[in-house]
Subunit: 140 residues, 2 copies
DNA sequence: CATATGTAGTCAATCAAGTTGACTACATAT
DNA sequence: ATATGTAGTCAACTTGATTGACTACATATG
């Protein structure tokens, strides 16, 4: 194949899978969601709510940018701002029902994608790839 | 690790390597280059020159966007526009000396990165990853 | 061969998603 | 009590792309 260096292969395979994911989400009616929204929703779910600054740190963008994305996701009924329980300056962002549903759908699609790959190359080999990618990240 | 699904691992490992590449290029004095410039330069080199529309098709962006990037790379002495040999409407974009040098530097750094990985996980296993990533791309 | 339609590239205006800077309200340290 | 720090928002700007309009040239058709 023409794309034969590792970096190109990583780029293309990531793009292929993320496109597949969002194509499927779109089919399920979630046409208004981008990858960054997924990362944000995942973080919120994992921590049972998050502040703007936590999200900014996690995503590596400014709190102002987070604020705009939160506006968007709130308008589209994926998340909701609530007053922070202890800090009156702050707010926490939590998932709505729709937010929980899209997150679950995303998990399911990612599992399907991995399952499809397991059918092709086997579970052991998929696990090896994952381990190796983790070591690429650790050792670079 | 927290990033344990395949898509996240692909994203993070790609980002890690591309950051490493551009950090090294920057050390060599090529601070004025972004990933998209690398893709464009590679395509031009591979085809011994390219038209704007070929580049737009290859990169998946509009010809107007290509035109702006070509402006930038021409100002920074990586490439040069020449009249198209047969089509008087067209131009072809070719590499300058600096363009050839940066491309070679990029290839060398990518090879070093792969070599570093081979030292860690072995050549066979790297080849397996590459094969598997290629099949992710083909079969999705 | 004349003419209609198509194509390569550029210019201009606009859009999208981020940034920096300034500000308010509240929190924390001295 | 007061000074300094922090969470979030608003506004202005930047960057890298887009769409639309245009010019010059190419190609197909009557």
């Amino acid at each position: 194949m023409s794309d034969s260096d590792l970096v190109s292969l990583l780029s293309t395979s990531f793009q292929t899978l993320i496109d597949k994911l969002h194509e499927r989400l779109s089919e399920l009616g979630f046409h208004d969601i981008r990858p960054v929204h997924g990362y944000m929703i995942k973080y919120i779910a994992l921590h049972d709510g998050a502040t703007g600054i936590e999200l900014a740190d996690h995503l590596g963008i400014t709190k102002q940018a987070v604020s705009k994305i939160v506006d968007y996701l709130e308008e589209n009924d994926y998340i909701q701002r609530k007053p922070h329980p202890t800090d009156k300056r702050g707010k926490i962002v939590v998932l709505t029902e729709r937010g929980r549903i899209v997150m679950e759908a995303k998990e399911n699609i990612l599992n399907e994608i991995e399952q499809h790959l397991i059918d092709n190359i086997g579970a052991k080999r998929l696990q090896m790839i994952k381990d190796d990618l983790a070591s690429v990240i650790r050792k670079t």
